[in-house]
Symmetry: C3
Subunit: 160 residues, 3 copies
């Protein structure tokens, strides 16, 4: 089954490219391919139309862990959307390398992994254990752009 | 001298795999090998039995810089333990690439490098200047999983 | 035009190697080359003599966004200085891969991208769209070494 068929079978839709507020020019690439490596910029959770998905704010204060999990899952879909637009075909992905999961949180919050599991669970579900496995950190940030609760960057390896 | 012999000569013991609280499922790889690259997930300091090593909390408030140095050193041993279990043999490591050192700290703390030196000093001691040299950042986080004071992720290059 | 000629045409000067306070020993490489990859350690803004460039502190409180942009631009020059010393010649750079932009900020600050644009704009100006494009994250840290307002790490690909 192709990744696209897999996404359909799971009833998952990839969102449009991120809709950036005019005040926030972004002169970089969402996905930067160099040779057989795809560097994925920090993405946040998006709605299907590409707008930033809330709730915004700090997990543990403004956002529950369960909401954070859902936001991390949406971030995975946003990244898959960017990869599909850049690569043309998600089957060009040989495997996931590294995932850096950032949680906007107040001092004292210690459950970052439970939030970023929303990303990891979806990637493993879509790509399977072999292609989907990745090294990961899940850590707490003092702030994220636009007040997003979750941001994730990654590196993916491509078929030569 | 092999790395294992070197570790013995320095009287260093690698801890068991991290003992995770049941409430904190971790669906990712501690070390993810893709081709000749080993992506190392964020690790924290561990005791020999794999339990998280304290003191927990924020360096500069709950944890002194000297204690933080020791925790970063233990984090290096934890990472070497994960690499040994994944690679079978630490002599498969061609050299260290990148090290990202994260210090759980209160705003105002500015000595992150002195903490992460505990990691760098040990890696250079074990691997020598040529294999052990690495690019590094040492920065302050708003929070880390389980309240750990230090977390470090890395990339290591393997012999082809 | 070589990168060096381009820098001259833009009237840009690369600073000296970072002048570290004696109390802050740094046992790692500013740039670590492994094969055709150059891992760039976290750098901060520098003056031409290599001393840390202020203002120090938190963007949004002690440092304005415009000042932060200028500090990120100086961080780009500091990194180019380190790359030139390590590589001998900046034309050995095939292209930029990944940029991780860290902003020292108080909780509630959400304009990290506007700060790190100071880095991205300069890199694109010097290297052009093809070599200069990079994946990027721009995020908020609880603290940075020496109280620097900006720190950036990166990976650059070299011509084989």
């Amino acid at each position: 089954m192709s990744i696209e068929e897999k996404l359909k079978s799971l009833d998952l839709t990839l969102p449009a490219s991120m809709a950036i507020p005019d005040s926030m020019a972004l002169p970089f690439s969402w996905v930067n391919v160099r040779g057989n490596r795809a560097f994925v910029s920090g993405h946040g959770p998006q709605n299907e139309d590409g707008t930033v998905s809330g709730p915004l704010g700090k997990v543990g204060v403004d956002v529950t862990v369960d909401q954070g999990y859902e936001l991390a899952r949406k971030t995975a879909l946003a990244i898959l959307g960017s990869l599909q637009r850049e690569l043309g075909n998600l089957d060009r992905i040989q495997g996931w390398g590294r995932v850096f999961g950032m949680v906007n949180c107040a001092p004292g919050f210690t459950q970052q992994p439970l939030v970023i599991n929303g990303f990891t669970d979806l990637i493993i579900e879509v790509f399977g254990e072999e292609k989907g496995r990745h090294a990961r950190s899940a850590v707490g940030m003092a702030g994220l752009p636009l007040g997003m609760a979750v941001e994730i960057e990654a590196e993916v390896l491509l078929i030569d």
